[in-house]
């Protein structure tokens, strides 16, 4: 155990005071210690172990980390700073929040009603389990991770359908994060069975069975010519660390040196990614193969050569010669930063802001808030064997997650002492509009296609306009006029609110009274019953409609740019037509509810 972390030992005494708090870092310590503090700083300062999370054989097993333990840690932080947390969120708010965060879509009206009627004390924990076991969980986490892993890829570079199908399968069986990360970083073989542009997710899932297919290769596929970017993305996504700035120059005090970056990217310079089939199908098929030395094509290219020609090393200087990527993955998944990076990203997802923000920029001078909690959660995640569902369960059943977003009194807000309001991303927004308006049921009845694919295609349409940076916490509303226009006049909303088009309206028509109609609309969109004043206003609006507001509709054109890779997702719907006055009034209320901030935010 002497070689791998030799550089850390030199820094031992200075380091002792610094590990444990990512924020305490002085440039005087030097790069070696900085590396060590970031990579190894997990408590054991003087005798660091390369496999930091495996307890020594004689040590007693620590107690399992629970939501209560998490709450105790945070409460300690609040008390030391005199922070009063907000009160607990009400049931309807919790149900909507936990749906949006675990399955990426608002609850159905029936689920809301049942949950509010349920008087058992453990109903919140049970709904978490129910959601984690659902198909929607795998769908949503696959979608989110597809975005993180291959989000910037050009269409054609990556077979996103196959990649998503594979991720979906992995999240469904609760694949452990170290296993998933290792597969993504080391995959070899063909990236895709060769799908047509019109393939569905079901077909892609079937395609996974094709012999010799390695869907994880899609993560690497866009780095055919840029091993240095493969390296940078790997460090950013799996270790939460931005090293790519060192690609071009040494950075002042806290960043990686160019030499360090080059040795690290050399680990990826021996992987040859060859296009074995281009065009025709959904995208290129790429074959990944590891060579014993630098890929000749890279070595010959003057732009790339510097990043592949040095001996491959991990970020702490450990030699990775030999089975390079396999060794690197093994090294990576045992780093404290590996579990912290995941935990931090998950925290940012559920609590609106990571311990470190942006979630993928963990470094000594970007201080973590409540670093003790980050460390404890990271260790717990590693100890659980990187069990993703277990982590989600701990976070979402904790009291801190269940706090209200309302002001609870003076001093509330910092350190997650009230819930941070965040805007829904394109994925959540599309799924929620589709569910609220019953477009999914309507479209599958009309035989227009699979609901799975509807989500994928609509999201693609939305994602361009709603290009939000999900890695950042939202301190301001990153909206644009285009987004507002899409929500006000876009086809998804137009079709979803059109009286003649969805099965929702048949149900609303059949409802016994305007009171019932208004209540249904609120439950479907905002996930709660209307308050008295809202009910009265809603009923007034519907009856005013009966007195004859015109139900005219203007012609709408199909969008000029349809999402690539499939036909118009809404093609199965009958065109909206002029509605009778009552239907028009319902349409207008539904439109207002879908455009409301209460709908657009997770709160």
């Amino acid at each position: 155990m002497s070689t791998p972390f030799a550089s850390r030992k030199k820094a031992g005494p200075q380091l002792a005071a610094r590990v444990g708090r990512l924020s305490l870092w002085s440039p005087a310590v030097g790069i070696a210690a900085a590396l060590a503090a970031v990579l190894g700083g997990c408590g054991a300062a003087t005798a660091p172990q390369p496999v930091a999370h495996k307890p020594a054989p004689s040590a007693p097993a620590p107690p399992p980390f629970t939501a209560a333990a998490l709450d105790t840690l945070l409460r300690r932080e609040w008390e030391s700073r005199g922070i009063t947390p907000a009160p607990r969120a009400d049931d309807a708010t919790f149900l909507r929040r936990v749906h949006l965060d675990i399955v990426g879509v608002i609850p159905t009206a029936d689920r809301v009603t049942a949950f509010l009627a349920d008087k058992t004390p453990d109903k919140r924990a049970r709904v978490v389990d129910e959601l984690l076991a659902s198909k929607d969980y795998a769908d949503y986490w696959a979608a989110r991770w597809e975005e993180v892993l291959v989000g910037g890829a050009r269409p054609g570079d990556v077979d996103r359908l196959t990649f998503r199908a594979w991720l979906r399968e992995a999240f469904a069986r609760n694949a452990k994060w170290d296993e998933l990360a290792t597969t993504l970083v080391t995959a070899t073989g063909r990236s895709s069975p060769g799908l047509l542009r019109t393939a569905t997710l079901a077909e892609a899932t079937e395609g996974l069975k094709v012999q010799g297919i390695a869907p994880a290769v899609n993560f690497a596929a866009k780095f055919r010519d840029t091993p240095q970017d493969f390296a940078g993305q790997t460090a950013r996504i799996f270790l939460g660390t931005q090293i790519q700035c060192a690609q071009c120059h040494d950075h002042k005090t806290e960043k990686w040196t160019q030499a360090e970056f080059r040795s690290f990217s050399a680990c990826f310079g021996r992987t040859q990614l060859t296009v074995v089939e281009r065009g025709g199908g959904f995208g290129r098929i790429v074959d990944a193969r590891d060579l014993p030395g630098p890929v000749p094509r890279f070595a010959k290219n003057s732009e790339v050569a510097p990043f592949v020609s040095t001996p491959p090393k991990a970020l702490d200087g450990t030699s990775m010669d030999g089975e390079t990527r396999a060794k690197l993955a093994k090294w990576m998944v045992t780093q404290p930063l590996f579990s912290r990076a995941f935990v931090n990203r998950a925290w940012g997802h559920f609590l609106g802001r990571g311990f470190v923000s942006p979630v993928d920029d963990m470094r000594p001078s970007n201080a973590a808030e409540a670093p003790a909690v980050l460390e404890a959660l990271g260790e717990a995640f590693a100890r659980s064997g990187y069990d993703i569902k277990a982590l989600v369960r701990v976070i979402t059943t904790s009291e801190v997650y269940q706090l209200s977003a309302q002001l609870g009194g003076p001093g509330t807000g910092p350190l997650w002492s009230r819930f941070r309001v965040t805007p829904l991303g394109p994925e959540e927004l599309v799924r929620s509009v589709v569910r609220a308006t019953a477009l999914d049921a309507t479209l599958s009845e009309s035989g227009a296609g699979e609901v799975d694919d509807l989500h994928v295609r609509l999201t693609r349409l939305f994602a361009f306009v709603f290009d939000v940076d999900e890695e950042m916490d939202a301190t301001r509303y990153e909206g644009s006029v285009s987004q507002a226009l899409m929500m006000m006049n876009g086809r998804l909303i137009d079709r979803g609110t059109a009286g003649g088009a969805t099965s929702l309206f048949a149900a609303l028509k059949a409802a016994p009274s305007d009171e019932a109609r208004v209540a249904t609309l609120y439950l479907r969109t905002l996930g709660r019953p209307p308050r008295d004043a809202e009910l009265a206003a809603g009923v007034a609006a519907l009856s005013e409609g009966s007195r004859g507001a015109r139900g005219a509709r203007l012609a709408t054109q199909p969008p000029k740019r349809l999402p690539k890779g499939g036909p118009d997702p809404l093609r199965g719907l009958p065109p909206p037509r002029a509605a009778d006055a009552k239907t028009a009034a319902i349409e207008d209320l539904l439109w207002a509810l879908l455009n409301a901030s209460e709908f657009a935010f997770n709160h």
């Binding site: 909206g479 285009s482 006049n489 507001a549 709408t556 207008d588």
Partner: protein, 400 residues
Amino acid sequence: MRRREFLLSTLAGALAAQSARAWEGPLPASVIVLWMNGGPSHLDTWDPKAKGPTKARRTRLAGLDIAEDMPLIADVADRLCVVRSLSSKEGNHQRAQYVGRTSYSPNPTVEHPSLGAWVAKRLTAPDSGLPPFVSLGGPSLGAGFLGAQYGPFVIGKAGALPDGARPTVSDARLARRLGLLGSLEDGFSQEIVTPLITERRALYESARRFMASDALAAFDVSAESAATRARYGATDFGTACLTARRLVERGVRVVEVMLDGWDTHEDNFTRVKKQLAILDPAMAALVTDVSQAKTGMLSGTVILWLGEFGRTPRINGRDGRDHHPKAFSAVLSGAGVAPGIVGATDAEGANVVGKSVSVADLLATVYTLVGISPSQEFESPSRRPIAITDLGVPIAAARR
């Protein structure tokens, strides 16, 4: 149109009043960026070499020879300032595109606002209902820490009304919808106090004003004569350049028009020829129209032609040229620009001879031309003072 504006304005709150003052600034200043995506070969456009494969042609500007496939531009070259001594360190598309838009190298801790966003923020836009910053044909780059309200209004394909610009229901129903929405927003913002809701409401108000704006007609080039449309060329880029002119005339402060397809690693010469066939009429027409404008917003317009980097003098095995940030060209034209040639490269076109110009210097020149100080500092969200450009010094020779 008037009726809709009237109906909707009765619903508008204080926000409308706030933005209701008309534009009366001292300087009718605006910027049109022609963004050449992919990194155009300087050697086959503005800086052809005697020994190189691209033939040069004389232009109306004494001493300036440019690629022969730009005959119309050559005819208006006496209104151009060609910068041949641009130099940068970023040879990666994404990073170099970031530099071209912001003057800064990407840095994970700060999202720098783009030139478009700074211009949108610093110059008050006339009250036309149009967004201050429009991007035609490309995603462009956002407003970074300035916030999305200064980011580009993106239109993928120019020529007609943008998607969603018109309501799908009658004026009366839209008014009812906005009324219902207003009370929902009031209720929610009483319950939860966060600037996010206020900002979102302001955005909806801008969208409402946009939908009702008479100036929306600017997006529809069919109002232009067939002769004018022909001058700009029957291409998406030509249409976008004409749209840019129409938008600026109606008060849009900054328009970025993208021409993609310059990443010529393969088949450089055929592809550049194609690109120039698109660029030549569009840019020549735009330069002409801007230079002939005597009054109004168009008369104060600065045109900037720029891509992320140049291409290597060496021709690779696929008859292409690779990335070359060490020496490349950019072009300025319009209000306050002094025609001429700035700097030079060596006989190969590989290196700048003498003093080089940074992308920050180039953008600083543009900012100065429209009356914005390029060294003015603002505080980023992490409380760091950030100057509008990364130490950019305006090119003296480029200004009249």
